[in-house]
């Protein structure tokens, strides 16, 4: 899966749009960074490899006025579908360049494996192995060992929406029932264990809002109620209840909307499993309303609609 076909496509797409968003190499071979291409000569900068982790679709709502081409992986493509459901983008002004993807790397996991040595080179071999060169020598890793959790249950390696596809589509080999195995496993713990777990995790939060800022579905941006006085939902105090409350705001606002791109967790400097609550909510939305975010543009997010007879909601008895 070389970037050559993608570059060809982008050359074509660029004639028709104001800007194309793709990936280019960052400060070392392990890091990719978004690039905004509006001139043909920039196209050569474009890269595609498992280090291209960012969700580039996140830029779309803020570029609503422009016609934009965007490079998306399967997981990222669900963001576009969700934007369509919520009317946050004009699909006719977006050209989607899809890349079927067999998994990306978690930069954190790679760095852990090489003891946070400076990266000299990263080579992705044809057999899926990754060679990482550092001053301490060369480490051979397998993609499976260093990919983020979301890749291990990925049901959509091929984008669910695209105008151009940069490679042959790939079928998912993952079982849908495995997607929420972690949720169900966690539900097996006792109430007390769960409580202790979250208190410990949220207590580490430094309220940097990186998770929120990276989230493609956090539409409020500067109007986030975590920082407003009118309404005044939480104070700026750094105690557990306020931190807990912030994460509840984030989670509940994403109920039935989170496309599980994992950006929140990727950017968290404290390594808090921020995505887990949203996965739990998605798990429930599937069970209650047979709804999966970012899959079908015709769907309506479940919190913005209702059925007169809710088949799956039973009246609660005291």
């Amino acid at each position: 899966m070389g970037p050559e076909k993608m570059k060809e496509i982008i050359t074509d797409v660029l004639k028709d749009v104001d800007v194309v968003i793709g990936y280019k190499q960052g400060f070392d071979k392990l890091h990719a960074t978004p690039c905004f291409i509006n001139k043909a000569e920039q196209i050569e900068e474009i890269i595609w490899s498992p280090v291209c982790v960012q969700n580039l679709a996140s830029f779309l709502p803020s570029l609503k006025a422009k016609k934009v081409g965007v490079v998306v992986k399967g997981c990222d493509s669900r963001t576009i579908v969700q934007y369509m459901q919520e009317g946050l983008i004009d699909r006719s002004k977006v050209v989607v360049v899809g890349i079927p993807c067999t998994g990306v790397v978690s930069v954190k996991k790679v760095l852990d494996k090489v003891n946070h040595q400076p990266i000299e080179d990263v080579v992705f071999e044809a057999d899926g192995a990754i060679l990482v060169k550092t001053p301490a020598g060369e480490t051979k890793l397998s993609l499976a060992d260093v990919s983020p959790d979301k890749c291990s249950t990925c049901l959509y390696p091929t984008p669910v929406v695209y105008d151009h596809l940069a490679a042959e589509p790939i079928k998912s080999v993952k079982a849908p029932e495995d997607v929420y195995k972690d949720v169900e496993e966690f539900e097996g713990k006792s109430l007390e264990e769960r409580k202790v777990y979250w208190e410990k995790e949220f207590d580490r939060c430094i309220r940097c809002y990186a998770c929120r800022n990276a989230c493609p579905m956090c539409v409020c941006q500067d109007s986030c109620i975590a920082e407003s006085r009118d309404p005044h939902w939480i104070s700026q105090k750094s105690n557990l209840s306020e931190k807990f409350m912030f994460h509840m705001i984030h989670s509940i606002h994403l109920a039935g909307r989170c496309v599980e791109c994992g950006e929140c967790e990727r950017v968290c400097p404290m390594g808090i499993p921020v995505n887990a609550l949203k996965k739990k909510l998605n798990h429930d939305m599937k069970a209650l309303y047979n709804y999966e975010p970012g899959v079908n543009p015709e769907d309506k997010p479940p919190m913005y609609t209702f059925s007169v007879e809710e088949k799956k909601i039973e009246e609660h008895k005291l």
Partner: protein, 145 residues
């Protein structure tokens, strides 16, 4: 709070103005005895109840939260309780994942004529909360900063 009798627990109720608040009034007019733990917040419609109010209450010292609206199809605002049902059910399922017993939160539908049903709901819910005991707020133990 200092005034609270030690036997009382902290229960917050969100009641829609048209049905459940009226139902609680009916229960009062009929002199149906109820436990005193509940504090009622009047809202126009159960659809006004942002699930975050419930979370906020539970995180900040409430031992239980009760939400009551008009029966489905009887909403004064046509659809408000239909939205409420989805949001509240979402929260009901989420709470235990956070380690908060879902029995601490109850939502139901009571009409303005159902004074007796209101009495039963308040009594049963209060008893349920007493059975669970106080919810030692997560925050107290760990709020170091």
């Amino acid at each position: 709070m200092s005034e609270i009798a030690p036997k009382e627990l902290r229960i917050v109720g969100f009641l829609c103005n048209w049905c459940s608040y009226g139902g609680a009034d009916t229960a009062g007019v009929s002199r149906f005895r109820q436990p005193t733990d509940l504090r009622i917040i009047r809202v126009p419609c159960s659809g006004r109840v942002d699930p975050l109010f419930i979370v906020k209450a539970l995180l900040n010292g409430a031992d239980g939260v009760l939400v009551s609206g008009c029966h489905p199809r009887d909403c004064h605002y046509t659809d408000g309780n239909f939205y409420a049902r989805r949001r509240l059910e979402m929260l009901k399922q989420l709470l235990p994942y956070l380690g908060i017993d879902e029995k601490r939160f109850h939502y139901t539908w009571i009409s303005a004529s159902e004074g007796q049903r209101w009495q039963k709901t308040v009594t049963d819910f209060t008893n349920q909360i007493h059975k669970l005991g106080p919810l030692h707020s997560t925050t107290e133990a760990h709020s170091g900063s």
